[in-house]
Amino acid sequence: MSEIPSELKYTKSHEWVRDEDDGSVTIGITDHAQELLGDLVFVELPDVGTEMLAEDAACVVESVKAASDVYMPVSGEVIEVNDLLADAPETINDSPYDDGWLIKVKLSTPDELEDLMDADTYDAEIAED
């Protein structure tokens, strides 16, 4: 069973969002997503300062098997990226919700958070897969 922390928000494309309550959010991929991808071996992150809209491709995560895009769950500016992943992409497999976070984003349209799924809805969503 995948872990789905109740305090986070989720997307259909398996990103999670943590509201930092200061106008910014932290973004990563879910436990379910890392299980689907398998052993991660490379992560490509955007430059700090990049501005993107919700649903833009923000990062690429590559497992031994394949490359997958990670999409912006919300619109905003990238204010920090997880540099640890350059040398240790497997951190995402080991700790998808903590040490394996991908980027921090300053929200440009905070209302978009309302459009995201809560943990129960996401749980039901992946149960259908």
Binding site: G38, D39, F42, E62, V64, K65, A67
Partner: protein
């Protein structure tokens, strides 16, 4: 509709993640492709390869037929059980499939061809056999399990039936033996020592359990792909196809040009290609920058043009990305590969990266 091998229930029981592969429900991994890869490099792993197609060819005319059908020459097989790797070409010199053929006796050869190409292979073989005294029998009644790794043989021997053990223990590399209903080949697709074992369908699930008890871990098709890539073994459909000749697919060594009078399918075209001089070659790439090489990425070689990767992945043994690529003949030891709009540096090497557990 997807087919299931006789080991399907075992894959479910052992936690295999099943995917469609060439119309078969096959395990891509049983948890971690990376762990399975290392398991084979360091110890022993097993793969269900029952989806592959076993074909028995028999009759008075079988040798002559195979000398016509295959680009490599079965006349090289003098000792009973000896195996040969060969391409089966079309008349244009393109590769219909690659295969292993075992010489069992003068009127019996056993061939193993790919699952994805089964239908076209069987149709082609049948069509070409007109005029030869040869009988072609597919063996869907046989399951096949590959046991691979430095400890694969000793562990497999613990699990084999008593009446198979002696013959299996004595096998030299690249030989197979027929032990009644069972067949054991000291062959594989990982660059490690080991066996490929064919056995009656009905006995396969129990044998799988015995191998597991002997410490052989189940491994999926994912690890099989990274293992073969590191070992420098071509994958049909990616590294060579019906539109590429063996000469530009790193498989020139598998063509038996001598004796010159042997007329095999595709020979005339290949001969012309060779006389004219090929313009491309298949090489290995090791990515020096960070990123992952995959098939169909553009390769740029300074002063000699462009090429393309044919298959690539992360190498768990080298902890770097590696690939096969078809590049201009003049390419030296360096190129760049375009990944998502960026040109990354790669070293051009002989396409063998790992052999018997060690980086080459």
């Amino acid at each position: 509709m997807s087919q299931k091998t006789v080991l399907y229930d075992k894959h479910v029981e052992y936690g295999g993640k099943l995917v469609d592969f060439a119309g078969w429900q096959m395990p891509v991994n049983y948890g971690s492709q990376m762990d399975e890869h290392h398991q084979v490099r360091n110890d022993a792993g097993m793969f269900d390869v029952s989806h592959m197609t076993v074909v028995d060819l028999s009759g008075e005319g079988v040798k002559a037929f195979l000398q016509y059908l295959l680009a490599n020459d079965v006349d090289k097989l003098k000792q009973q059980g000896k195996a040969l790797y060969s391409c089966m070409l079309n008349h244009d010199g393109g590769v219909i499939d690659d295969l292993i053929v075992y010489y069992m006796n003068d009127s019996w050869y056993r061939m193993v061809v790919n699952a994805a190409t089964r239908d076209k292979d069987l149709a082609w073989i049948d069509e070409q056999s007109a005029g030869y005294e040869v009988e072609i029998n597919e063996r869907p009644d046989l399951a096949m399990i590959a046991v691979q790794g430095p400890h694969a043989r000793e562990k497999a021997i613990e699990a084999l039936p008593v009446d198979v053990v002696e013959a299996a223990s004595e096998l030299d590399r690249f030989f197979g033996c027929d032990c009644g209903e069972w067949f054991v080949g000291r062959t594989g697709y990982t660059g490690e020592d080991g066996f490929e074992i064919m056995l009656p369908d009905t006995e396969a699930p129990a044998f799988w359990d015995r191998l597991a008890e002997a410490g052989v871990k189940p491994c999926g098709l994912g690890a099989r792909d990274t293992l073969r890539l590191e070992a420098g073994m071509n994958l049909y459909g990616s590294d060579m196809t019906e539109t590429t000749s063996p000469l530009i697919s790193g498989l020139g060594w598998t063509i038996a040009w001598e004796p010159a009078e042997r007329d095999f399918i595709g020979r005339a075209t290949l001969q012309k290609e060779r006389d004219k001089g090929v313009t491309q070659k298949l090489v290995g790439l090791v990515l020096e920058d960070k990123g992952i090489l995959r098939g169909h990425q553009k390769v740029v070689v300074e002063n000699s043009g462009e090429g393309e990767t044919t298959s690539g992945s992360f190498s768990p043994t080298l902890k770097q990305s590696i690939a096969f690529a078809r590049v201009p003949k003049q390419a030296g030891d360096h190129c760049q590969v375009e990944i998502r709009g960026k040109l990354l540096n790669a070293r051009i090497v002989k396409p063998v990266f790992v052999r018997d557990g060690k980086p080459v």
